[in-house]
Structure formats: C-alpha cells, structure tokens
C-alpha cells in the first residue's frame, strides 16, 4: 500500500473510528496512532475489507445528514448488527481502546478470509498501550504511564470523560 493511499484512507479511518469509539477526531489524531492502526488492520486482514467498511460508514454518513440519531440507528443496523462488520468494528474499537489487535474468530475468518496469515493477537507497541483510549474513557490514566502527579489521587475524579 502506498503512502498516499494510506494517507487518504487514514482520513476515512479516523472519521469512522471517532464514531466507533466515542472520541473526537482530534483526540484520535493526538494519539499519533491513526495511520499505524489503519496499517495494523490492513496487515492483519486485507486492505479491501477495510476500504469496504470505511466506504460503508461514509455512505451512512451521507444518508443521514445532520441527523445523529439516524446515523446511530443506521450504524447499529448496518455495521454493529452485521455478522460481517460487527466483529471487525468491535476489534477496531478494541485496538483504539487497548492498543491490542485481537485475532478474528475462526468462523469469521472462514467466512470472509478464508485465510489471514498475519492475523495474530498482539499489543501493537509500548506506545499503543500508553495511548489506549480506555484510560481516558474511565477518567484515569494508563497504569504505569502518563502519571497524574503527587497527591492527584486525593482529589475528586473528573466529572466526565474526555471528548
């Protein structure tokens, strides 16, 4: 995959990931890992599948202009209720939240592969662990990194997670 195509695809991947994870695009950009994760998914599976999912999401956005409720409904029906797309979308959420790529299930691979030789469960990197969105979601910081400072734990927690 060329650099230019990953850049282009990266824009779509980021927009889709924002809708999947509940974090806005600037937060995702701030992790520095958007293109790394796109590459991770493409390497583990293949680029065609990723492109199809990004295109599907883009279509749903176009079909629901200025209608967040409608978009959410469409995403649930078209992606998160789809035997093909739900496992992949959930795995992309896992990737963003934990920095870990999880191997797809045997049945899913049989149906949509049928063979992905590079699809292995692994933490992408030290950085991906530290950038895991799960810590922002729970109003904390990654255990062992991004420390909050002496006595921070004695003060009230944040009232809401980051955007």
């Amino acid at each position: 995959m060329s650099n230019s195509s990953i850049n282009e695809l990266g824009i779509g991947f980021k927009a889709m990931s924002a809708a999947f994870t509940g974090f806005n695009e600037s937060t995702l950009q701030g992790t520095g890992l958007n293109d790394v994760y796109l590459q991770t998914v493409c390497n583990a599976l293949n680029q065609t599948l990723v492109e199809e999912l990004i295109a599907l999401y883009a279509t749903l956005v176009l079909e629901n202009p200025d209608n967040p409720k409608g978009l959410k409904h469409a995403m649930r029906h078209q992606i998160f209720a789809s035997p093909k797309w739900a496992p992949l979308a959930q795995n992309i959420i896992q990737l963003w939240y934990t920095g870990t790529w999880n191997q797809m299930s045997f049945d899913w691979t049989q149906a949509y592969g049928p063979f992905f030789p590079n699809d292995n469960t692994a933490i992408v990197s030290s950085d991906s662990y530290k950038q895991g969105l799960i810590w922002k979601a729970v109003g904390a910081h990654p255990m062992g990194a991004k420390q909050e400072g002496f006595a921070s734990w004695a003060f009230p927690p944040p009232s809401a997670p980051e955007n």
Binding site: A19, F20, T21, G22, F23, K72, M75, R76, F80, A89, Q90, I93, Q94, Y97, T98, T100, T121, A122, I123, S125, S126, Y129, K130, I134, W135, A137, V138, G139, A140, H141, M143, G144, A145, Q147, E148, G149, F150, A151, S152, W153, A154, F155, P156, P157, A160, P161
Partner: protein, 606 residues
Amino acid sequence: MDKDKDFDVVIVGAGISGAITANELAKKGYSVLILEAGVKKSNNYQSYLSYLDTYYNNMVKIPNSPFPNNPDAPQPLVTDAQQIVPGTPDTTGYFVQNGPQPFQSTYTRSKGGTTLHWLGTCLRMLPDDFKEKERYGTGLDWPISYEELMPYYRKAEHEIGVSACVEDQTFHGVHFEKDYVYPMKKVPQSYLDQKLGDWADGFEFQYEGESYEVDIVSTPQGRNSTPNPNYDGGKGYQPVGAVGNPDLGQRCEGNSACVPICPVQAKYNALKTLKKAVETGQVKIWSQCVVTELTYDTGNGHITGVKYKKYKNPNSGKHKEKKISAKRYVLATHAVENAKIMLASGLYSTSGLMGKNLMDHPVLLTWGLAPEKVGALRGPGSTSGIPTMRGGDFRSNFSPFRVEIGNWGWNWPDGSPFTQLNEALSTGNMFGDDLKQHMFELNQRMFRFGFLIEQQPAETNQVTIDPAYKDQLGNYRPVINYDISDHEIKGMVAAKEFTKQFFQAAGIDDQTQYNPTAPGYMYNDGNELWWQGAGHLAGTHIMGTNAKNSVVDKNQKCWDYDNLYMIGCGSMPTVSTSNPTLTMAAITFMAAEQLILDLEKESILV
C-alpha cells in the same frame, strides 16, 4: 581460588535482605560477594526502563510481567496456579504442587528481588503478634519482642524510606519512641479512602456477640512522599530517587502501577541499597550464578563453600560449575529457595523443620460499586486500610485479618477496566459515546477490599525436593504441599460478614462473584470463599529459642551450622497481619549486627 579467599562473606541473593546485609558489612570494611541467579543488569536507569517496556508489551500484566522468564533461574507465576486434582501433582509452572490447595504466591528471581514488584506496604507487626501462642494459644511465639525490635524497625524504615504518620499507627498496642516520626509524611489518602471514611463513620462490626469499632487508617508505605523536617532530631530526610537517575522519583507521581513496576522508582526497591553497597568498593555482585548447594565439613559442621552454576545465556542451559569459599555464608534467596538450597545440600535441621511452616497471607477479595464516583485507577495501589480485626481476643477462635482498601477498581479480582470493555462490546452491544459513558460511569464507582488473613504455621505446609523434578540447569524445582486450615477459613468467613455489614452501612452495591473453577475457590458451610496469594512467602526456616524448635536463632544464624545465616521472611515463625517486608528488613539489620560481631570476634582470635 586465591582471589575467592578475598571475600569475608558470600551472600546468596541480591534482594532486599542480601542488599541490607551486604551494605552493613561493607560499612564495617568487610568484603562481600553477592551471587545472584538472575540475568546481568547494569545499574543505569535505561536498563530498568527495559523492564517497563516489557510490562507495556505484555498481554498479561501479572506481578512478574516486567521480568522476563529465565529458564536458568525460573520463577513462579500467579497464572500457573490451578485447582489441584487429588493425587496428581500439578507441574504446570515452576513449582510442583502437591496440594491439596495450590500455593498461589510468587517471587522474582532478578537483581533487586521481589521488591521490584512489591506494593511497598510497611506496617509494623503488633506487639501481640510476637507472643501469639502465649496470648491466644495459636501459632508460635517469636524469640524476640516488639520492644526489642523497635530500634531495628527504625533502621528498616530509614533504609526503605517509609512515609507514614505515627499517630495513625498507634493501634492494638503498637507504640513508638517518644518524638519518633517517620522519614516522610504519610502518603495522601485517596479520594476513595476519604469517601469510605465518610460513609462508614460510626460503623461498628458486629460479630459473634462482640462489637468492633471500625477506623479507616492511612497505611505506611515504602514510597516517597513529603520529607518530614522533624525526622532524625530535626535533620530531616532526603528521599532516594531512581537508581541511575536520582532526580526522578523523589515523590510518588501516581503511576498506578506499583505492582508490578514503579516507572520512576519512587517506590523503594533493593536496587537502591545495592547501589550504596557497591559504591563502598567492598561489594561485588556476580549475576547469572545460580547456587545449587553448600558444602560442609561433617566433622565440625562448618559450611566450607558454595557451589554454583554460571550460565552465559538464559536460553541455552549451558553453564560452568564453580565453587567459592568465604568466612561466613548468608542465604538470602527468599523463603522457598533458601529451604530448597539447604535440602539440596543435605543440610537438614536438628529440629526437622527445614522447609516446613511455609506461610502466606491468603487474600480474600470482595468488591462493589460505590453509591457515587470514587475515582478508581488512580494513585498507589492502596493508601489506607482497616486495622480493626488485626488484633483481639477473637484470635484464639479465628484468624485475624487486615483490610486493604484497593485504589484500582476491580483490576485485581476481575481485570477491570478491560473486562468491562469486553462485556460492553460482546454482550452490551455498545459503541461510540454510549460505550465511553458506560465505561466511565461503571469504572468510576468500582472499589475492592482485600482481606489479608493470617495463616498459621503448619509443618505440613512445606517445601521439599524430588529428583524427578529439575529445571533446565539441573537444579531442583520446589515441590510444595499446601493447605488452608479451618482457623483461616473461619477468618475468611468473618471477612465476608465484615464486607456484608460494611457495604450495608456504606450503601455499596456488592458485586462480589467467585468462579468455582478458579484456584483458591472454596465452598464452606454455605459460604462461598475465594482466596489468592499475597506474595508474602514466609516460614520454611523459622527462628526460635533452641535447636529443637527452630532452624535459626533470633539473629537468623543456623543452630546447626555456625558460620551460616539464613535470612529473610523464611525466618519468621508467624506471618501476622502485616505485610512481611518491613519486619524482615528489621530482623535483617539484627542479623547483620550479629554477623559483624562474629567476624570481629574471629579477627581477634586470629
């Protein structure tokens, strides 16, 4: 061999007890060699950071996750333990487990030892703990009293750098010298601790006709906090930062990863003491040297040398066999390995107690959702506890326990927050903002108790060896027989009742659920129980008043081998309800003092 004769003392094991002993000897001008089984690591901070990187990249973040497995010096892992089928030894991990219960605690075979992954809790034992048999008819009595140990507790608190408040620690008869203050002020108690304190204000635990007043008290910790200017008669205290990067770690920064690794070394580890010891010029550390046995003179019972295997590469199994001699020998390899080396050497104890009385704190966990956000997953693993049930007349009836308040949500019992993410995706069918909000609301309210139950010494809980079980280097793997007694089970039942009453009083939604297939699961008289290891291995070469009732004397010198000290938690006759490292460090200072007297006496005789 001439070069070898240069060492006055050979210490086996570069953990906290070996480090303290080496440093004390070196300060008096004695030459010391430390043999360490773990891989060679330099003293720079970069080298320590490689552990951190291993931790980040490890899928399973257990206590030994930053410290790579080494087939030449294997270490137990908490994930090895499983329920044991009667009559079938479990050989899954490094330990060979005969049961009936699995021994679930671990230690680290690396330079710095298990202090690399300890939590840092530095509670003193209660005065009553030293005379448990006399007072309550259970356990054993120590050959020393609390009062005798007080000056050594001070040394230990200085060496480790303990942050605590004297007023908070004076319970159950614990007392301090007039004007004593800890080196550093107490680590600020977490927001969770404060909230629980509010909710439980006035709560009394009712049990078996008695009523117990419940207080939430700050925990002394080997973790850098604000130095106390009144320490040491007004001289104050300078916190010790990271080895090789001393400006770092002057205060705890809230990395929330004390176990398994403090990234900035604001938490004490033995690398700090080792550094001082080596800087005296009197101490050498030889890594990758796994001690296999001690040789001795059958005539006079003196130890004559240490046999060890030096390996180049932890994966090959290739090694050279070597031997070294000195005037005195110190085994400081932690409870299990100490006993194992003695048994492998054919060095038994007149008492018959070598390897026996293996103890731990079985930890019963209970957990729930607080009525409002408590800010889980921030700060040190625990900043407060409840000492109420650590002491009292009930001890003759059931095991006492300390309550540790956990600051990291349900991370220990159920792997939060990852487990909740998996559930939210797989069965919750959530995504987007709903997912994020759900994770926030749920995790923010999580907390857990950990009940550290005192385990009684029992000779049937023991470490043995069997030629059928050896590691890659041909060294024995520890064979362990282990069980939980009725006394301890009754303590766990009381702990569950404590949870029930406390949660009712505080309005906490009990979410405790035990998995019947998990190691440590028990069903007792209608009570579901589940305990895990605390990593507080003790016993195996207990101290006592004579050669018949113990392996070592109060100075941790072997009754049977005059030039050999066996030091560490293995010398503790009872494990009480305090985490053992502080007391172990205190008795190590005592042992070092006696060892120096021995050497001085010998030099006069020569």
